[in-house]
């Protein structure tokens, strides 16, 4: 019981200090009042001009992919960077002899986590049904991202999750797509480059970077914005999907060192 009190003291101190601080400061706007300064300066412009400027009724997608499209390109680069970092760190297999602390051999009293204790029908049958449904939903989320919710990240993450389900749940069966980590990193880079390519196309079309109105296709202004948004979303989807598969493969392939027989 004393240990619990000893643990609780710092948490209580934190609560008291924060309560005192919040009693003193009151500059934060109260949540929910419509004419707080945060809304009037830029966001009202986004809400009123989103459909006219970007032809996308979903304001959040309009802000992400059209008004602040440069942010999202860099953020997909951060995603690619993380996938590449994981691959580099786990690329080479260190030899067990060069290790500082020899691991304690405690494999005996630990049940083998690999083989599942149960053999059930739902694992093999259900997976074959669930995967196509998620894929269809991912495609819907991608292409319908401007009108309803969704967009590149969600679609990419969903397809990544299909790959995870496929390789993790039933490791025995041959999985749908085999993507070793060298190729999936290259695919992530290529996906993010599709995003950059859209920007370069707007430069070629004579406009400023990521100005979809100047895409060199022969379309009306609204259609150009929609095609620009669609190309960008496809790039983000491929980038995010390939990065999630990369990180999964890299961490999953790491054999367990402790019970190397």
């Amino acid at each position: 019981m004393a240990k619990k009190i000893k643990n609780a003291i710092p948490v209580v101190i934190i609560a008291i200090v924060l309560a005192a601080a919040f009693a003193r400061f009151d500059f934060l706007p109260s949540i929910g009042d419509p004419d707080a300064p945060a809304h009037t300066r830029t966001s009202d412009y986004y809400i009123e001009h989103a459909v006219k400027d970007t032809n996308s009724p979903n304001y959040v997608t309009a802000v992400i992919v059209d008004y602040r499209a440069f942010d999202t390109m860099l953020e997909t680069t951060v995603m690619f960077l993380a996938g590449l970092g994981v691959v580099i760190l786990l690329a080479s297999r260190p030899d067990p002899k060069a290790r500082i602390i020899k691991p304690r051999k405690f494999t005996e009293n630990r049940e083998h986590l690999g083989a599942p204790a149960y053999q059930s029908i739902n694992k093999d049958v259900m997976i074959k049904i669930i995967e196509p449904l998620i894929l269809i939903y991912a495609v819907y989320v991608l292409f319908h991202g401007e009108v309803s919710l969704g967009g590149g990240f969600q679609a990419g993450a969903l397809i990544g999750m299909v790959y995870i389900i496929d390789t993790m749940v039933s490791p025995g069966t041959i999985s749908l797509i085999r993507l070793p980590k060298e190729r999936s990193v290259a695919l992530a880079g290529a996906g993010t480059f599709i995003y950059t390519l859209t920007g370069i196309l707007t430069l070629v079309g004579g406009g400023v970077f990521l100005e979809y109105g100047k895409l060199p296709f022969s379309m009306s202004f609204e259609e150009k914005h929609s095609t620009g948004i669609l190309m960008v979303e496809v790039g983000v989807t491929i980038g995010v999907m390939a990065t999630i598969i990369t990180i999964l493969n890299a961490i999953h392939e790491r054999a367990r060192f402790d019970d190397d027989k």
Binding site: L149, G151, F153, M161, L248
Partner: protein, 80 residues
């Protein structure tokens, strides 16, 4: 106006989960509690009226929990 009270209750649940994660001895339990954390966060974003963010948080919460569990296979579950 009642959504603020719901947000406050959900935030208190998040704080409780954080305490569990900090003072828990078994790593796998901490990771599973973290999965509950990201689910309640997703629910919190829905209550706040941010469906896009909630969608992303749900998907990325599940994927980061899967990464934690897979890397936990390489790292033993006990912790001091």
């Amino acid at each position: 106006m009642h959504s603020l009270i719901l947000e406050a209750v959900l935030l208190m649940a998040l704080i409780a989960i954080t305490l569990v994660v900090i003072f828990d001895k078994d790593l796998l339990a901490a990771v599973v509690t973290y999965c509950a954390f990201s689910f309640i966060t997703m629910f919190l974003y829905i209550v706040m009226g941010a469906p896009d963010v909630a969608f992303t948080e749900a998907v990325i919460g599940v994927i980061s929990t899967i990464y934690f569990v897979i890397s936990l296979r390489n790292i033993d579950r006990r912790c001091k």
